[in-house]
Amino acid sequence: MFDNVFGIHEQALLLHGQRLGVLATNIANADTPNYKARDIDFSEVLSRSNDAPLALNVTQGAHISLSDGSTPAADLKYRNPYQASLDGNTVEMPVEQAAFAENNVRYQASLGFINTQIAELTLAINGQ
């Protein structure tokens, strides 16, 4: 009954957490020569999470079962810089900061949706 109570927001929260880590890595490497900035293509990963994951049969004890696909694997992609820099670094600080701020808001939005859901459930359970 409570399997899918949070809908897409549960996965969105996890993905936003991952993306925050990727962006933090970009920011930490803003001055590293030859470092290539990376990011997660958010809409692509989230749209893939709606597809039913391919099941893998476990016929022997030594087989490793795949995860249930609840957290879709995120593809890391390289960012195209607006302006190439001489040291081969593709981190553009304003772009990263904007993405970081945007991701922060989206994370808190997902968290807000989940909190509302919990409040509604609590209300339903208490019945008052």
């Binding site: 929260l13 880590g21 990727v22 803003a30 990376r38 900061q97 994370y107 968290l111």
Partner: protein
């Protein structure tokens, strides 16, 4: 990569920028130091940054997710020193010349501003991650 890894990532950035600020301070302090021997002068030092690729953090389809930055080493600038005629200087060589360090003060100042900005951004990343973690922990309350 969970939110907790951001503390490591941004923390390594803070560490690297601190080392950069340290070398800048050292360079500026020695900007006016002189020596009569051109091989013994103070040479400007600069850190070389390198991103850390950690296999254990490979959580993205087997790709290595970088987990931060480290200082691979400190290199000395090989810009030739300037020679100045100062026979009254006790360090002057037999011809009366002293060699000044090859520190470029303007370059050091801009380096300092850049390090300062990067440091602040990393602190901001840590603060954001902390806020989000605290809000996540308080989920449902």
């Amino acid at each position: 990569m969970s939110l907790f890894n951001i503390f490591n990532t941004a923390g390594s950035g803070l560490n690297a920028q601190t080392i950069r600020l340290n070398t800048t301070a050292s360079n500026l302090a020695n900007a006016e130091s002189v020596n009569g021997d051109s091989t013994k002068i103070y040479r400007a030092r600069h850190p070389v940054f390198q991103s850390i690729m950690d296999e254990s953090a490979a959580s993205f389809d087997g790709e290595d997710a970088g987990v931060g930055v480290r200082v691979a080493g400190v290199v000395e600038s090989n810009t030739p020193p300037t020679m100045r005629y100062a026979p009254e200087n006790p360090l002057a060589n037999k011809d009366g010349y002293v060699f000044t360090s090859n520190v470029n003060s303007i370059e050091e100042m801009t380096n300092m501003i850049s390090a300062n900005r990067s440091f602040s951004t990393n602190v901001e990343a840590i603060n954001t991650a902390r806020d989000l973690l605290l809000k996540t922990i308080a989920m449902g309350h």
